[in-house]
Symmetry: C2
DNA sequence: CGGGATCCTCTTTGATACTG
DNA sequence: CAGTATCAAAGAGGATCCCG
């Protein structure tokens, strides 16, 4: 069994991109990758400050997951006090085209979503 | 206040693509859009069967959200028994390049993620 | 048939305290 | 500093029943 026919994909409703979505777009992973890509190698605390709103506990969880998936590399310096640095990997950087496509779509269509929401909230709600 | 400086984005850790991620990659939305795009207009029950694993309640919630965001259009036929059809909109189809980028990335890199996971689980776990 | 309402479970998250 | 442990809170999701 490979990653593409894992239970996660089957649970994804028969959608070919369900695995990537699980890997790249689970909660907090996008901001973490974005900040690591924008600011380079970061210490744990500095990264926590860059990713606004995240707690240390959750940041640790997400970094472990990203490290396991090969998108982020962890470097521990055996010093006192301890120093741990995180860096985006080449595999992580290979997501750049995906992120670029999302930026483009945002610029072109985010205001259309806002319009749709306004119309829906005003008068478009489902009628039976 | 526009959609791009909404609380959701601020909570997204200062990441420019956080709004799109909220809209497009919340749970189940990708499989739903994928199936609607692949199979065209669908009745509620048929769509539920296409999206494996989803319950009627959750499908309704997600469809409401997608309709509000303008990605899906709902058509209700006042008959007995009732008939409701869902269809992807032009705005929804404009996501095609994003989805295509994800397919490409999957084909090129999903096995690398699998390798990274195996290495991590075998011997790569964080050492203090 | 397409849901809405209700109840209940279970995972995720937050807050706080503690340690090598 | 960079976590881990623990407990409490919250929200998502499932199961079931009912209605137009």
């Amino acid at each position: 069994m490979t990653i593409v026919d894992s239970p996660a994909l089957v649970a994804g409703g028969g959608c070919p991109i369900a695995p990537v979505v699980d890997i790249v777009f689970s909660r907090w992973t996008t901001p973490i990758l974005w900040q690591l890509n924008a600011h380079g190698r970061q210490r744990f605390t500095d990264l926590r400050d860059l990713v606004e709103g995240i707690t240390a506990k959750v940041l640790t969880q997400r970094l472990r997951q990203l490290e396991r998936d090969g998108l982020v590399e962890r470097t521990s310096h055996p010093e006192i006090p301890p120093r741990v640095e995180y860096e985006i990997t080449e595999l992580g950087r290979s997501l750049a085209p995906v992120f670029a496509a999302l930026v483009t779509w945002s610029e072109d269509n985010l205001d259309r979503v806002a319009d749709a929401r306004e119309g829906y909230d005003t008068s478009g709600r489902p009628r039976p």
